[in-house]
């Protein structure tokens, strides 16, 4: 891997984020509803003078291109603006929400990879066996069912009918002052349902992918050799076959980060998980342009970085790709 390649990729990433900013800027403004009227409505009504003062304060009375120029200029200086609704800097709001979103996404990703690969490997052992059929059915359901429906069903089942998990949020409010261990366990407890909900769709994909990949690898010569030299089935599966089958899985994991983030936004809304998704949801409902744009900007940044890291790690892992740009 060479430095020019890295800079080139970073440059593409920055251009992509600029594109995201400009596109979102215009898309949001296509939605009906004047933010000043919404702010006034949220205040409980307003006079015409107050509406004008709101437009003046947030620069909404300036030409759209001027607003875009100001916004891009501010972003270049690291200023994401001030939330119309929450009356606070967007960077502060996102700063408080980014950790729960990343925690949710990474937990779901790890859960999906670990369980998905495990199921895929088991299915690949006997391609026509019951486990393989289970993985096929589970994958189909996992693909087909909307993530918010899964979430609602899990809430009904595990928070209402059989209340072993909390219904929403990230931390029990009454445990705010508890020790770090109790709070960490409480966060894990709250994390279980949303992470599993988000993981299901990807878990199904990883199960199918690893099953196909394993089937291909299990038919190769070196696996036959491993078996011939008397290696146990577990060693053959997990030591010899899985290592080689894992490369495409890891690539897909990196590339799927974007869709995981968008899935997380939905899951957060269902479980009232205090991440960027719930923030975006609140902001969209209130035409809070700076917050919506800020969330999309940061989310696109996360995806660009994740894709870049995946690409780089893949090049590290596979010597054949080094030197190619």
């Amino acid at each position: 891997m060479n430095a020019p390649y890295l800079f080139k990729r970073l440059g593409y990433g920055l251009l992509l984020m600029l594109g995201v900013v400009v596109l979102n800027f215009f898309l949001i403004r296509l939605a009906p509803g004047d933010p000043a009227v919404v702010i006034a409505g949220e205040m409980g009504g307003a006079t015409e003078e107050m509406l004008e003062s709101i437009r003046e304060e947030y620069g909404l009375n300036k030409p759209v291109l001027t607003q875009l120029g100001i916004y891009v200029g501010n972003i270049a200086q690291g200023d994401l603006g001030e939330s119309y609704f929450f009356n606070q800097p967007v960077s502060k709001l996102i700063g408080e929400r980014i950790y729960p979103t990343v925690l949710l996404v990474l937990s779901a990703l790890i859960m999906a990879i670990v369980l998905g690969v495990f199921l895929g490997v088991l299915a690949a052992r006997k391609p026509n066996g019951p486990m393989s059929a289970f993985v096929a059915v589970f994958s189909t359901i996992g693909y087909a069912v909307p993530v918010f429906w899964t979430g609602i069903m899990l809430i009904i089942l595990f928070a209402s009918v059989w209340p072993i998990f909390p219904v929403e949020g990230m931390l029990s409010v009454k445990l705010r002052d508890a020790g770090i261990i109790v709070r960490s366990l409480d966060i894990l407890h709250h994390l279980a349902l949303p992470a599993f909900t988000l993981a299901i769709i990807y878990l199904a994909q990883y199960a199918r992918l690893s099953r196909a990949s394993m089937l291909e690898v299990l038919g190769s010569d070196y696996v036959r050799t491993a078996r011939a030299k008397g290696a146990s089935e577990r060693t053959v599966l997990f030591k010899h076959a899985l290592r080689n089958a894992a490369l495409p899985i890891l690539t897909v994991a990196g590339l799927q980060f974007g869709s995981l983030i968008s899935g997380a936004l939905l899951v957060e809304t269902v479980f009232n998980w205090p991440g960027m998704g719930t923030l975006a949801f609140d902001a969209i409902l209130r035409r809070d342009y700076p917050t919506i744009m800020g969330v999309l900007f940061i989310a696109s940044g996360i995806v660009v970085v994740a894709n870049l890291l995946t690409d780089l790690s893949y090049r590290l892992a596979d010597p054949r790709l080094r030197g190619k740009s």
């Binding site: 205040m43 409010v173 109790v182 279980a192």
Partner: protein, 518 residues
């Protein structure tokens, strides 16, 4: 495999461990659940229940009200209204301090009233206030340019929080002041943490100026936007109180929870009216006979008893029944389809017409369900109704404030005194395109204007009630709005709570006497 087994075991243990954590010592903490997201916590520049609930805990106000609509001392230990009604003197307590230790003085009261006057959306609250004089540190004299019978009610905690001049007087715009999200007041609870859209944590103010209060150590407002999740939280005991609950299914469901009590008390001041507004400038609706025909064709009893399962009350006029100014004798428009058809024919619409109904995105039962009922019901008198949903509040607000509607359903609060919550939607000088919750019906009647303007300055309660009675009779005939029902607000709360909020302002009132029983 061993590692996987260990991880699964650890996860299960973690889940079980957390389940086994004993319930927090509940004695001092009250968790209020809410679906409402506040912009910030300063009720001096922001109306609405989302802000008022925490704001009334953090900020004290000059006066508070009891459950009989009687003003009671708060920051003002007493007050006098001059004979001509043009001056109100507030005698302040001398032991009140803000949460940062600075004393509350008449300067703060004067600053707060003038800030609220300039920035609060309810302009009528303090419009007649000319100045607030401060002859000494504990006396504030409100000078008015006309008598203002609604003034004392406007000095309630939900409407007139006393904000510290030494913080807000720094020249920044009060509407977007950074302190709005980290407020310092002199109320019974101090802000500990504000997580926008998530939670508001307030701790007991140890230096509160009323001895022995507050009783609770802590109040947490937990924002759970999904009502289903909120109901489960109430059933599971994760939350202790759920005010402003308005769905009949939710009410019936929580009624079954053994540890909860439900009450309809606490909403007399809010006065939430669900209505069908007419755009009186629309050629189809400018004739009062068409509006009356729609009223005669609509069955309030069916809506309240069948669609709302008996939890809401019919609303016949602009002023809610719980208000001292309500007139029981106004026209009711009992269902009469023949009369409705005759009125349509008289108005020249014997062949019917097409109308579109918009509704504010909100509880389906209060809006969409009624809109769909209207569609089927008005068909009986030849009106083809198209129900036009709005995906969100901005879309609906844009249509209604831009007068781009024919019929629109909405919830509007009385806010205690008609001057504050009622006048704004009937006065002809408040027809302001682009301004939501103004007179968006474009209703103009000089007699109504005169009556409301007279009632706004009439200090004699009996004479004032008479003026409002005439107003109610006229608008019930003119029907710029067809009032449907009062929102069936209920508060669900843990039965062990002592002194749950049942006054006229409910939870938009200091909860300093609420405590946990045995």
């Amino acid at each position: 495999m061993k590692l996987v087994s260990r991880l699964l075991g650890a996860a299960a243990f973690a889940a079980l461990s957390v389940s086994a954590v004993p319930a927090f010592a509940d004695g001092g903490t009250l968790v209020i659940a809410s679906t409402q997201v506040p912009r910030h916590l300063n009720g001096a520049v922001q109306s609405g229940i989302a802000t008022a609930v925490p704001s009334t805990q953090i900020f004290a106000s000059p006066i508070r009200y009891d459950e009989n609509w009687e003003p009671q001392p708060y920051l003002a230990k007493s007050w006098e209204v001059s004979d001509d009604g043009l001056s109100v003197t507030l005698n302040l307590v001398d032991n009140a301090t803000f949460h940062d230790g600075k004393p509350v003085t008449s300067e703060d009261v004067a600053f707060s009233i003038m800030t609220t006057k300039e920035n609060h959306p309810f302009k009528s609250m303090f419009a007649p206030v000319e100045t607030v004089e401060t002859p000494d540190a504990h006396t504030a004299v409100i000078k008015l340019n006309q008598p203002h019978p609604a003034l004392l009610l406007a000095l309630s905690p939900a409407l007139a929080p006393v904000i510290p001049k030494h913080i807000y007087g720094d020249g920044q715009d009060a509407k977007s002041h950074p302190a709005n999200s980290a407020p310092i007041g002199s109320g019974p609870f101090m802000l500990e943490e504000f997580k926008p859209g998530e939670a508001i944590v307030m701790k007991k103010n140890p230096n509160f100026f009323i001895d022995g209060r507050p009783k609770l150590d802590e109040i947490i407002v937990r924002i759970i936007k999904d009502q289903s999740a909120l109901l489960i939280a109430m059933e599971n005991g994760e939350a202790d109180m759920y005010p402003f609950m308005d769905g009949s299914q939710a009410i019936r469901r929580l009624e079954k929870a053994d540890h909860l009590e439900l009450t309809q008390e606490g909403y007399a001041g809010v006065g939430p009216v669900n209505w069908l507004a007419f755009n009186t400038q629309s050629p189809k609706l400018s004739d009062v006979r068409v509006r009356q025909a729609i009223a005669f064709a609509t069955d309030r009893d069916f809506i309240t008893k069948a669609l709302h399962r008996g939890v809401s009350m019919p609303q016949r006029g602009p002023i809610v029944e719980s208000s001292p100014f309500f007139d029981d004798a106004i026209a009711a428009y009992d269902v009469d389809l023949d009369k409705a058809k005759a009125l349509m024919a008289e108005a020249g619409f014997a062949d019917g017409m097409d109308l579109t109904v918009d509704y504010i995105p909100g509880p389906k039962e209060q809006q969409q369900t009624i809109a769909e009922y209207l569609k089927s019901q008005l068909k009986k008198i030849g009106i083809n109704v198209t129900v036009r949903a709005a995906p969100d509040f901005p879309t609906w607000a844009g249509r209604v404030s831009g007068h781009d509607f024919e019929l629109s359903m909405d919830v509007v609060f009385n806010w205690g005194d008609p001057v504050i919550g009622v006048h704004r939607t009937y006065l002809s000088d408040n027809i302001k395109k682009g301004v939501i919750w103004s007179n968006t019906q474009s209703y103009a009647n000089a007699e109504v204007d005169a009556l409301l303007n007279a009632a706004a300055v009439e200090m004699n309660p009996g004479k004032r009630a008479e003026l409002y009675s005439q107003f109610q009779h006229i608008v019930a005939q003119d029907l710029p709005v067809y009032w449907i029902n009062t929102l069936p607000y209920h508060t669900a709360y843990d039965k062990r709570l002592v002194n749950p909020p049942k006054g006229i302002w409910g939870t938009m009132h200091p909860l300093d006497t609420v405590s946990w029983g045995e």
